[in-house]
């Protein structure tokens, strides 16, 4: 009997030990999986950091590249590229020799590989912004040609006013905004957390936003269509652009086209999309033709810009300095990319004048 009790006790203890071991193993397994999760997230974070570091490194290297840097009396000028050197460098990397009119004699890939150690896998280009690449006498971002075709001159006064939202609630974040009637006076505009401009903003009835001189036959600065409606009838806009162009598909009257409000485009994201709009229809116009005109080539509505006009539009001056996006025919799709933009000066050494440009650098890294 005594022996039996002892055996039972031993069995109980065995079961207890097994239970403890089992719980211990579960805890270890949970800990290990937790640890691996943390490690994998920190590895991917490290990868992003490395890629960003590489992008910054390339920006620094390009900014100080003696091949394109400009100088005055043998002294290097900061943040400045020599236009002639830049063109020569670009042509050299395209395989050209001294005479650019003669077809390239070398393999561009070999030339690019000479700079691989310095610049790695990247695309480096310079886009000249001023002098404006197209003839834009009123500096409104639209070329004169576009305005001739459309028969209208549009002037953006303050883009903030476009954020006005009649149903905006809250609005506790004040920001100074222009009073276009008196440019020396500043008004307060109130925003809510969604970035919508609220009605308490002291901008009611002012001619903020787009001053449209469309069909302004009597030259009083107000479009012909607007003169048909007295201003008080429309508290939102002194002259409502929706009224001027009733073909605008904007059912909720928030200044956003219905087209843009489909899908993920909600609130501030819409503006991101519009301001980030980079001419997908290739007609040489940026967000203006979508936002201001409410259309682009693929829309069903009539586009006043014909294909013949498109062919004649000026394109921005872009000089591609270096373009190596894959090794041994590997496509850049196998790599992750990081993009950076830095404003730079471009010096014309002949006339000793400076242009304003932006340096785009996209670096590529093989995905982990």
């Amino acid at each position: 009997m005594r022996q039996y009790i002892k055996m039972k006790k031993a069995q109980v203890q065995m079961a207890e030990t097994i239970g403890i071991l089992f719980i211990f193993l579960i805890l270890v397994a949970l800990g290990v999986s937790f640890w691996f999760k943390i490690q994998s997230s920190s590895i991917s974070q490290k990868t992003v950091e490395l890629q960003e570091l590489q992008a910054v490194e390339v920006v620094q290297i390009v900014s100080n590249l003696p091949e394109i840097q400009c100088s005055r009396l043998n002294e290097v000028e900061d943040n400045c590229f020599d236009e002639k050197k830049m063109i020569a460098f670009s042509k050299y990397l395209q395989g050209y020799d001294q005479d650019f009119d003669v077809a390239p004699s070398s393999d561009p890939y070999d030339r690019l590989m000479e700079y691989y150690d310095l610049l790695g896998l990247s695309r480096i280009e310079v886009e000249i912004i001023y002098p404006f690449f197209w003839d834009d006498s009123d500096h409104d971002g639209l070329s004169n040609k576009f305005e001739e075709v459309n028969g209208q001159i549009l002037e953006e006064i303050d883009v903030l006013s476009m954020d006005f939202h009649p149903s905006c609630q809250g609005g506790s974040i004040p920001e100074r905004a222009f009073n276009s009637t008196n440019p020396y006076e500043l008004d307060l505009a109130y925003f809510n957390e969604d970035g919508e401009l609220c009605p308490q903003s002291n901008l009611m009835g002012e001619n903020v936003g787009l001053e449209d001189k469309y069909n302004d036959t009597n030259g009083n600065g107000r479009p012909g269509d607007c003169e048909l409606v007295a201003a008080p009838d429309n508290p939102k806009w002194f002259c409502n652009p929706d009224f001027i162009r009733p073909e605008w598909p904007d059912q909720d009257d928030d200044g956003m086209l219905d087209f843009w409000e489909q899908g993920d485009c909600v609130g501030d994201k819409c503006y991101e999309q519009i301001y980030g709009y980079d001419d997908p229809d290739g007609d040489g116009l940026t967000y203006w033709d979508l936002y201001v005109n409410g259309r682009h080539s693929s829309d069903e509505k009539d586009d006043p810009i014909t294909d013949d006009d498109l062919a004649n539009f000026d394109k921005p001056v872009i000089i591609v300095l270096y373009n190596l996006t894959g090794l041994d025919g590997t496509s850049s799709a196998a790599y992750s990319a990081s993009s950076t933009m830095v404003p730079v000066s471009i010096k014309d050494p002949v006339t000793d004048t400076y242009k304003f440009a932006k340096l785009h650098i996209t670096t590529y890294r093989q995905s982990v």
């Binding site: 912004i129 222009f178 501030d268 503006y271 967000y287 933009m341 004048t353």
Partner: protein, 170 residues
């Protein structure tokens, strides 16, 4: 009686271990999992864009204006006209030209970048930042800004100076 006391002591030991484990877990979650990622590129570009923008803009030659002037000359002329006024091809004054051109430069560089629009505030003033020179002040979504960096370039006048200040937000 003794057995019960032993059980209580073991329970306390277990509770201490559980508390220690929880404290450890909280530390891990706080410092490893919830660690804010530091963006090298963001910090670099933020300060670099502001200084490079102002540097390039002030150096830029204004081809459309009568004399062989750059933007810093035009800004100085706008703040304190002396001698013959500078006039540009579209018959605008130096102030109008500066205002429009600065806006176009901002629109085409900082505002319209690959990653989307970046918040900024460009201000020109002589004494008080709240009184911009001829109303030359351009802002984009600064109300959404949390971290900002600014650069300021003074342009000498005689006497005083006009300050060109650019705030950039990540």
């Amino acid at each position: 009686m003794r057995r019960g006391k032993l059980g209580q002591t073991e329970m306390i030991g277990l509770a201490v271990i559980v508390i220690l484990l929880m404290v450890g877990l909280i530390f891990i979650v706080r410092f490893v999992v919830m660690k804010q990622p530091t963006s090298i590129k963001q910090t670099f570009t933020q300060s670099n864009i502001a200084s490079n923008f102002l540097n390039s803009m002030l150096k830029m030659s204004a081809d459309e204006c009568t004399k062989n002037v750059d933007m810093s000359d035009l800004i100085a002329n706008c703040a304190k006209p002396k001698g013959n006024p500078i006039q540009c091809t579209d018959l605008s004054s130096s102030c109008d030209f500066v205002n429009r051109t600065v806006k176009a430069l901002l629109d085409n560089s900082i505002k319209r970048a690959e990653w989307g629009s970046r918040a900024y505030l460009l201000n020109m003033y002589v004494h008080d930042p709240n009184v911009p020179l001829h109303g030359i002040q351009h802002a984009n979504k600064m109300h959404l800004c949390k971290e900002r960096d600014s650069k300021i370039f003074p342009i000498p006048l005689n006497p005083g100076s006009v300050k060109v200040e650019l705030w950039i937000c990540s």
